[in-house]
Symmetry: C2
Subunit: 242 residues, 2 copies
Amino acid sequence: MLITSINNERIKNLTKLHLKKYRDEEQKFLIEGDHLISEAIKHNALLELYLLDGETNIFNFDNTTFVTKEVLDKLSEQDSSTKMIGVCKYLDNEITSNRIILLDSLQDPGNVGTIIRSAAAFGFDVILGDNTVDIYNSKTIRSTEGMIFSVKFNKTNLISFINNHNEYAYFISDMNKGENIKNFNITGKVAIIMGNEGNGISEEIKSLDLNYLHIAQNSVCESLNVGVAASIMMHELGDINE
Amino acid sequence: MLITSINNERIKNLTKLHLKKYRDEEQKFLIEGDHLISEAIKHNALLELYLLDGETNIFNFDNTTFVTKEVLDKLSEQDSSTKMIGVCKYLDNEITSNRIILLDSLQDPGNVGTIIRSAAAFGFDVILGDNTVDIYNSKTIRSTEGMIFSVKFNKTNLISFINNHNEYAYFISDMNKGENIKNFNITGKVAIIMGNEGNGISEEIKSLDLNYLHIAQNSVCESLNVGVAASIMMHELGDINE
């Protein structure tokens, strides 16, 4: 089947998935490019595939529709033109790891994507606070480099999560408070909490009176990028068996 | 003084600094926003300041020119409108640290900026290989979060640098070769080499037969973001006294 018009009803409906409101309604999101699509297939998350007319269906995926370049450009949220776009179902995740990371009001999609990618590397599950940028945002997905399908995550209210999961020892990542992560050792279930790029940790979380951990830095440096800080914390706290 | 026309000769010449070729010729680059400008003043790197007409000259900087919004938009390389743009002279740096990081053909300005920022945090000097993205690119500068003025860096041919600086012990950052960075200890002068985002380390550097170091990761993860990997390496190898 070939769709040639951007006014096709199915295309118009798919384009709505650019907006969070419709993604949440439909419980679906879009992905672009062969790497993400092959990851989605591997994890059984792909529902539909839209391929540029003339391209080979290398994935041999059943529910494939061919479309013109104009239609693909309409579906795409990236600058450069892509050759394939997939529709995925929302991911359903149970948090099971001994190591988790909580994201408190992070706003930059690139940072959240980077954290997802590093969480995959270091065996962390991810809890996205209500006020954190949407994980199904196209920029977030791109920054995960396909790891969105490998990492277990939940979106929830962080205060409720913490209150309901007292099996974890919680630590707030800070500029200088608490122990130096390099000298810190802990076993059992551990949670690390990262704050907003500009404002740090929210007052609500602060009021819980949790412990802190920090990364030792030169005084000249005002702060690390939050994706970097989270990754350093996860590298130190993770336990990867080689 | 107030400049109102984008056809003003001075403005036309400054706009050329958007291109690397002219930056190299003039040995000057542009910065935007109050944070970068205050860092530039602090480090004595600011030559001229262009301020939106009506704004207060909070920096009390002598060589200030007021311009209209239209002129500022012409000078700006960012999407959102800025209220001030500065002209800086190229930074002249001598490499003196016991800890350095070499960037082999990195292409993403955001990654290089992040590495500069982390280098400031962990006390590393930075050697940018010939084929690495320009440090004076506006996106690179923005990602450094002002740390471009705090970090010592050089742009040079990496092979020559390595051959001429045998006082350093060189290590290539790899996915799995060499020792696990977490178990690695070294004193003296150390250099870590990061490879390109997609292709890794270049054949030229590989042929030098250097040692490797790696960050232990889950097998599910294909790789870390190079800015993250570099930062983890620097965190482990740096020696920050608290």
